[in-house]
Symmetry: C2
Subunit: 230 residues, 2 copies
């Protein structure tokens, strides 16, 4: 799967959250682009890049309940009507669209009666409508609230969650998570030095056994639930 | 009342709707500014202009369910957090915020199940949230659907409706409309050549009589309604 990450931030170098996310990128399968780096968009090239991606992730801080002007400029310039839905051709159809959004306010602010007074979903409705127009698949949003206040364990968790958001098969089910972790583990074992290969393979085999065991338990649980259903 | 109209359009000269609206501006009480004309915003001056206005109208075509990048750039640059709500000062509080938005799609597209799939209110929710944050008064939006298809009588109506949106007291009640038209009429009569002054004053006096008559009828109707209420 090819993932395209389009980052919009007017001062990327000064953003600790964006620098952290950049350092957390998976080693392969991801193309990363900073929109404000480009004085003028090469429309044909940008469109070609979109055509080649399976998952497109827009990543930005929330400024006044929307993406920064840079992303809107990209939308207004690159996403021409002809490209998105002209002549009943939909080159972006069935591609996944995800949003990684950082906010200065905490999660509870984004609800009716909260300090911001609207949900992130409501703030992102214009982008969701665009995805709808392009017949894209809208992924659940990946919000990062108040990055500056995260503790170290939360940041470590964020690295994995972020990598999964970019590269794991959707939906974010137990089975898809397991597959994702199993793939990573195999890749890691292969890169271990020779003297640690045995230990690595042992860990991988235990993971596999646990996984089978978990699958069986999940099946049993599903059967019990079915029998309990009204 | 002082009204500030901030227009965002990347190619203003080519926009027949924006040129029409510009030609329809009331002769006084309105400051008009084209945001994309400015290479860089003079933040202090822009903020000062906002402080002096009673009604602020943002005017733009809807691009991908939002304002063009130029308006977002203005928001991101001019509306600093400190200015809008820093130190618990709210310099924009109680000012009215109106939106004049032109769309390429017809009115019926902007609903659940319509071609666009979301309402204008939902598309403008981020700006409404900003108004809320600034403690401004949100005016009902002034949409212009498919300007290019308007007939001449509709365009004439648009001129008046637009002028009223910019300068008439809100809410858009019968009483406020009457006041607005009465003021305009007086102004027009004063500018007539001497030989037409008598006719002009006659018209104005008939208008006033009708208005009094209408007020009486409205009062009577209100009394009847009150008696009918459960």
């Amino acid at each position: 799967m090819k993932t395209l990450v389009l980052v919009s931030h007017p001062q990327l170098a000064d953003s600790t959250s964006q620098q952290f996310l950049k350092a957390s990128l998976p080693s392969e399968g991801v193309t990363w682009e900073h929109l404000e780096d480009q004085d003028e968009f090469d429309v044909a090239q940008e469109q070609q890049q979109l055509r080649q991606a399976d998952r497109i992730v827009l990543q930005f801080p929330l400024y006044w309940y929307a993406a920064p002007a840079g992303l809107k400029q990209w939308e207004d310039t690159v996403l021409t009507r002809t490209f998105v839905y002209g002549d009943h051709r939909y080159p972006l159809a069935d591609k996944e669209l995800g949003i990684v959004v950082t906010t200065g306010m905490p999660e509870q602010a984004f609800q009716r009666g909260g300090a911001e007074g609207l949900t992130l979903d409501a703030a992102l409705a214009p982008i969701a409508a665009l995805a709808h127009r392009a017949k894209m698949v809208w992924l659940p949003t990946f919000p990062i609230y108040q990055f500056g206040y995260l503790e170290e364990p939360e940041k470590l968790q964020l690295v994995t969650d972020y990598q999964r958001y970019l590269t794991q098969k959707q939906p974010d089910s137990l089975a898809n998570r397991q597959d994702w972790f199993a793939q990573r583990l195999t890749g890691m074992v292969d890169r271990l030095p020779a003297e640690q290969q045995v230990t690595g393979k042992l860990i991988a085999s235990v993971f596999d056994q646990n996984r089978e065991h978990l699958d069986q338990l999940t099946d049993t649980l599903a059967m019990i639930k079915e029998q309990e259903d009204d």
